[in-house]
Each structure stands twice: as C-alpha cells, then as structure tokens.
Amino acid sequence: MKDENWLYTISSKHKLINLNFKEIWRYRDLLLLFVKRDIVTLYKQTILGPLWYVIQPLFTSVIFTLIFNNLANIPTGDGVPAFLFNLAGITSWNYFKECLTGTSSTFTKNQNIFGKVYFPRVIMPMSIVVSNLLKFGIQLLVFIVFYLYFVFVKGANVLPNINLLLLPLIVLVMALLGLGFGMLISSMTTKYKDLTFLVQFGVQLLMYGSAVMYPLSYFEEKLPNYSWLVEYNPIAIVVETFRNMTLGVDSFYLDKFIYAVVFSILIFLLGLVVFNKTEKSFIDTV
C-alpha cells in the first residue's frame, strides 16, 4: 500500500503559513454566492433599499460641513467646496470602515455555519470585502455626481490630476487594511470578547485620526507635536491621496504612499496568518 499520495492530512500540527490558494480558488463560486447573498438580502423589506447607501454619506457630509467647516472653520483648500471635500473623505473612509467592521466579527457571527461545515474560512471575510465594493461603487458614483455638479453648475475650481490612475491601488490598499485588521480582530475575539467593544468606538476614534474631515497640513500646522499620529496612519495617507487625485487638494508624497501600500500588505499577511491559525480550532473556544 502506498502512503505517499494522500490528498490532504488533518493534523494537530500546523505550519505557520498554511494557505491553500488552490482550495480557495475551488470555492470561488461560494465567494460569489456569499457576495450575492449580502447584496440581495441587506435591504430586503426596506422601502428605500439601496438608497441608504447614498443617504448615509450625504447626510454625514452635510453635518461635517456644518460642524467642522462652518462652525469650527477648518479650511479645505482654495476654492474647494467644503461639502465636496468631506464627501471625498467619507467615501474613501467608509470603504475601509465597512471592510473592517464587517470582517471583524467573522468568527463570532458565523459560528453556526463554521461549526458544521468546512470551507476555507477566509472566503467569508473576502466576500465581505467584495460585496462592500459595490457599496463603495455606489458612493463613488454619488461623489462623481456631486463633483460634476460643483464643477459645471457652481464653477468650483477643482481638478483631478494624474494620480487618479492610482485609484484601483487605493481601493486595494483600503481593502487590504480593512481585511487585515478585521481578520486580526476577528481571530482575537474568539477567545477574548473585549475587543468587540473596542472595535465599535475604536473605529470612531480612528476616523478623527485619519484626516477625514481636515487636511493633514492643517493638523500639522495646529498640532505639530501630534502630527506623527496622523502622518504615519496609513488610512490618513489613503484618504489624503484620494482627495489629492480627485480634488487636487492636499499633498501627495510617493514615499508615504509606498509606506501605506507596504503597511497594508504586511497587515494583511499578518491577519491571514493569525486567521488561519485560529480557524483550526476556534469552534472550541468561541
């Protein structure tokens, strides 16, 4: 009897990085079906349906404009409408936020399904990131509509620049950051539930540190001692870059951008390793 040709082995010992891309590929249909499920079922039995995707960033932008720009007088750059500035920040921030909060409860939310059948667990957070892409697309569309409105009707002086070509990369970085952090948190919440509480308000705090409602340059000018907090925050870099490529405001530094890309890849890999280690036996501790 030949023992060499086993298809796979279920064992107590695991390699540190045990990614089976072939298997993930075999389950690609499942990923698409999960995406479809998320999209189809999210707004079932609501009247406004997907309009909620639109309403939420619009209202947030209006409030931000009122509070931060009209009340607190935060400048948004020459000739850039504050509303557009905020909408740009929120659109890019939202995608990261949705990916993070969506994936951070992967294990606890799906313990029913995970406790009964096996499929590569990473399919689940991946499907969340993909289905959020649609949400992001709709919000981007809204942004573009208002963009065109401000440019052609109001005659606002905003211009996209060549960096716009980096948009797909920006989206990827946001997805990797959200997914990476989400998988890390999800893995850690299986045993210690404290993190769930942290995520809720941690994300909110993070938004204030991510240059969503102010330009980084203004922060550096006002709070120079703390500027490193925002400067080395990869999400702040992403948000700034997004505004830079679309509105022509804010700074763009290639070195910072590369730092954000590298950071996102590292956090994604770390998340993946921890996630893979957790999925083997999380069902016993969850």
């Binding site: 086993w6 796979y8 279920i10 079922t41 399904i113 096996y118 083997k280 036996s281 069902i283």
Partner: protein, 419 residues
C-alpha cells in the same frame, strides 16, 4: 476495492470544561511559556476520561483518546455509541470543523459532511437561491448545482415554494430542501450524522432509500453515525463502537451492534444514572427482576413467568400513585407497556415504603436485549421517571408448553387456540 481512502492515527481531542474567561489568559501564558522552552503542553497531561455523570478532578477532559481506524474505498462504515462517546467530536475532526489535539487523519478523497442539514440557509432568500448557496457551502460548484437543480427540487418536494423566501417555509419543508441539497453532493467520502431523524415517515423512507442508493449504487465511501440501529444495520457493512472517547470494537456491523447491546452491563442491575426526580419523597428506590421461583434472573425465556419487584418510597404523600413500565428493544423500539393506570389499580397505601409487584405470567417477547423505562405518576402528573432503568436478556423458549420452540424470531408470541 481494498484501497484505503481514509486513515486515522492516534486521534485525540482535549476539551476544557467550565467557563472560558477567568484563568484563560493564565493558562494561555503557561502554555506559551512551555512552548517557548520547547516543552509539551502542560495541560495535555491533566486530561481525564470523559465521563459526564461523575465529578472529575481536572478541568480538562479527553473527548477522544487515541483513535485509530481505516476506511476502505466504497465502504459504508457505521459509527455507534452512547451519547457523549465522542462520535460527533470525531466527525467534527473528520469534517475539519475543528482540529485534533494530537494525531492526524490522512485522506485520499474529498470529505463532505452532512452534520446538520440546513446550515447557512438565509431566510430572506428563495428556495432556489438557497439551494445554490447551500450547495456551494457544502463544496459544490455552481455548474454542478445547476446540472442537478431540477433533481434537487423534485427530491425535496417543495416545487411550489421554490421561488418563495425560505422564511415562509414550514420547518419540515426547510429540512426537506436541505436534505435534498445534501443528498446530491458527490464527494469521495460522505459523513452523515443523524439526519435520518428528520421529516415525516414518508420523507424518512425516501431519505434512507437515497442513502442506500448513494452507498450501494454509486459505491461511495460513507461514514454514518446514528442511534438508529436498524438504519445502521441496513446501510453499513462495517461498524465502529465508541465509548468514552475510545474505539472499543471494530468489525462486522452485526457483531458490532451485538457487542454494543452486550455492553449494556446493567443487565438486571438497577441503573441510577438517568433519573429524573420531581419529588424527593416519592420515587422508585429499587427494582428486581425475578423468575417464577423468586430468583434474580438476567435472562428470561419466552413463555416463562417473570416478576418485577419495585421498592417504592412514598413519604408524606397522601394521593394515590400509579406505576408504569415500558419495554423497549435495544434499537429503542417500544415493545409493550404495563401500567396501573390502564387497569385502574392505583396504589393507595399509606406506608412510607412499600413493595409493588408486576407479574407477567407468560413473557411474550422472543429474543434479544430489552430495557425498561419506569415511572410513577399521580393524578396524571409525572413524579419520577427512570430511563433505561434495567436491561434484560431474552431468549426463545417453549412458549406453548409443547416442547416445540417456534422458528419465528421477531415480534411477539400470544396465546391462541385452533378449533
């Protein structure tokens, strides 16, 4: 045919009892520290045998301990054992829901499990959408499902509802649909756990039929876990008997089932384990099974007189009480039932403790192992109930007192006459 498709080597699984919370961090740190120093996990040494009913010393128990077995291609293996014997844990490890603490399982085929049907149904989606989703969760590709969808819908018998959200389904329909999806899986190794306990009689028949097709017709390898001995007998060729996390018997399925029956050691010994006391002052203290000469017996022959003596406690309880006893075969099929209620002879005695006697002049059952469930009731209210209180072995006897032992092997004997 004799190629080994699955091989389990020294599989063990340790669980931690009690709440996970306080002390978890300290155990984790302890574990990590031993790992850093290159030593074994300290908590692997402290595990105890997993016996649910006794209080143990340690927080850690072994749900599985050194399980070894092999499965050949095309074989239908039955896994039987009491509740808590480790069957489900083993299946969880096989289906990769959790990983073993030690040991490894090697396989040459894809494993799909049918642990609990209906996993991942989304209530807001239609039956058809759910078939796709559920099929994909179980490991099918979209194309595979598409080629089988008509078959699945037909098998489920939910055609009319197929484009209605699943939340409008009755629970029976949900199960039918889920089973239909699962039954059309085509993995190399299929794991089935207790799914036959669902649905109405008609659907169960259909389900067992489908299982038989899968295992016999298609030559698929199947691991089947069930308490339904009749189903195990009809589906499986080989059996594994598990007890307290260990494999105690491996071999031909009939021998395995017989061995399981004989291991119910409490033959003519009053078992206290499965009691449900409602009151402390009214309960069954002891039961004895005697023959016509008043001797304790473990085996009764059909046609012989059998006497059940119950010792009953009835302190400070004035109401009349009723006793009942149900006879069951080892595959849990009810046989017959004797109670004081139906013959209207309740016990009205006023003593604190008394003996009650049930006499069956001619034992009607033919052969096999049987157990009894006993209870006390008063005014239609249950006061004490003991499941599987005692086991009794039964053998064919000279029922008709003619010296001729009938060849009929199952069912009942009864008195009759020909004119």
């Amino acid at each position: 045919m004799s190629e080994i498709i699955l091989k389990a080597e020294n599989i063990s699984k340790q669980y931690r009892l009690g709440l996970i919370g306080t002390g978890t961090i300290s155990h984790d740190l302890n574990r990590w520290w031993s790992k850093v120093r290159g030593k074994d996990d300290p908590f692997l040494k402290v595990g105890e045998i997993n016996d649910r009913s006794t209080k143990g010393e340690s927080d850690y128990v072994w749900a599985l301990r050194d399980i070894n077995f092999e499965v050949k291609r095309g074989e239908v293996l039955g896994i039987i054992g009491k509740n808590g014997a480790g069957k489900s844990t083993l299946l969880k490890i096989l289906s990769r829901v959790t990983s073993p603490t030690t040991g490894e399982i090697k396989t040459k085929g894809r494993i799909a499990s049918l642990l609990e049907v209906g996993t991942g149904f989304h209530p807001e989606m239609t039956g058809r959408e759910n078939i796709y989703l559920n099929g994909a969760i179980l490991g099918m590709t979209k194309a595979e499902i598409r080629s089988k969808i008509d078959e699945i819908i037909e098998f489920s018998g939910c055609e009319r509802y197929i484009d209605t959200p699943v939340k409008r389904y009755s629970s029976g329909m949900r199960v039918r649909l889920a089973f239909a999806v699962a039954a059309h899986l085509e993995p190399d190794i299929l794991i089935i756990d207790e799914v036959l306990a669902v649905g109405d009689a008609e659907f169960q028949k259909k389900a067992i039929g489908k299982m038989q097709d899968i295992s016999k017709g298609d030559g698929r390898t199947v691991l089947f876990v069930s308490h339904n001995m009749a189903a195990v007998k009809s589906l499986c060729s080989r059996g594994i008997l598990m007890d307290q996390g260990k494999v105690v018997f491996e071999g031909d399925v009939n021998e395995c089932i017989n061995f399981y029956g004989s291991r119910k050691t409490s033959i003519n010994k009053f078992a206290h384990k499965k009691k449900t006391h409602i009151l402390d002052n009214v309960r069954i203290l002891d039961i004895k099974i005697l023959n016509q000469y008043g001797e304790k017996i473990t085996t009764v022959f059909s046609g012989n007189k059998i006497v059940f003596k119950f010792k009953i406690l009835k302190e400070n309880f004035k109401d009349p009480i009723d006793l009942g006893i149900g006879f069951y075969s080892s595959d849990d099929t009810p046989q017959f039932h004797c109670s004081t209620e139906v013959i209207k002879k309740p016990y009205v005695l006023d003593s604190d403790e008394f003996l009650s006697t049930l006499i069956i002049e001619k034992w009607p059952l033919i052969e096999g192992d049987f157990y009894i469930n006993v209870y006390i009731r008063s005014r239609q209210k249950l006061l004490d109930y003991i499941k599987e209180a005692m086991w009794i072995e039964c053998e064919k006897g000279d029922y008709f007192n003619t010296g001729v032992v009938p060849s009929w092997r199952v069912g009942f004997y009864c008195d009759y006459d020909w004119k």
